[in-house]
Amino acid sequence: MLEVNLARRTPAIRPAAVASAGPIRIAPETGEGRLSFRAKAKALGGREDVAGFAVDGAINSRKSDGDTASLRLGPDEWLFICPEGDIDDAMSAIERAMDGAAHSLVDVSHRDVTFTVSGQNADAVINAGCPLDLSLDRFPVGTASRTVFGKSDIVLARVGHHDFRVTTWRSFAPYVHGLLLDAAKDYAG
């Protein structure tokens, strides 16, 4: 019998690639677990959260609580975020909490890659490829939405005035990373 526990993670973007251009920090997040949660209003029955993940936020909002967060991306779609080590427990807890009510819970931790984009002009860097109005009153802290960045889909979340999270599918991550780094060159001086 061969050693069985030999699989190691090989992330799409190595954390060593924390290439930052000047005052803008662009770095892949590590250790994030992600769950795609879907449920219609009738199944949620007006509850505020499911196993600690908020489901009462407005469409296109992000609610966070400690090291978990809940991004509402559509009327019946959420992206739950928790530490990767907590994924199995979180999934069990969510299934228990839903108690047979119609829903979908899918682990997408490996599907997605998230980048932190922070610093003065982080909004301008994202606007190099994203057509949304990122002014503070139109895209306030706590906003999260699926949108586009260049030729890639992303989920964009604003966690601070100059602090964004850009999430994309794994195979698009090198492209998104490259485009972010390129855009940051405008603000390196």
Binding site: I59, L73, G74, P131, S145, R146
Partner: protein, 102 residues
């Protein structure tokens, strides 16, 4: 680039959307009972009006939801967008005879 009001997300640029053609053409409940001509009409025939047109759009690079929109095909002005299943807002003037909202 058009500016389109998603009923769920608000105004977003056209690049986040995809148009799905004429709205309010419901898939028949019992296709098997339809004549070939009626089925062909459902499949292929569209009104293509000059002026107000009810059409399907999906916010595929956003919330992912389908919705309907009244757009003026001459000016590209979006008169109104509304959720799937809601009746055409100007139904009184509409030429569409579809009864099932889709």
């Amino acid at each position: 680039m058009l500016l389109i009001r998603c009923p769920y997300c608000g105004e977003r640029p056209e690049v986040e959307f995809h148009c799905g053609g004429e709205a309010h053409i419901a898939r028949p409940d019992t296709p098997a009972e339809m004549t070939d001509a009626d089925w062909a009409s459902f499949l292929y025939y569209r009104t293509n009006p000059k002026g107000l047109h009810a059409e399907r759009w999906v916010h595929n690079h956003g919330c992912g939801r389908w919705f309907n929109a009244l757009r003026d095909t001459v000016t590209d002005a979006f008169v109104q967008t509304y959720e799937m299943g809601a009746p055409r807002p100007d139904a009184g003037n509409a030429s569409s005879t579809a009864t099932k909202a889709a």
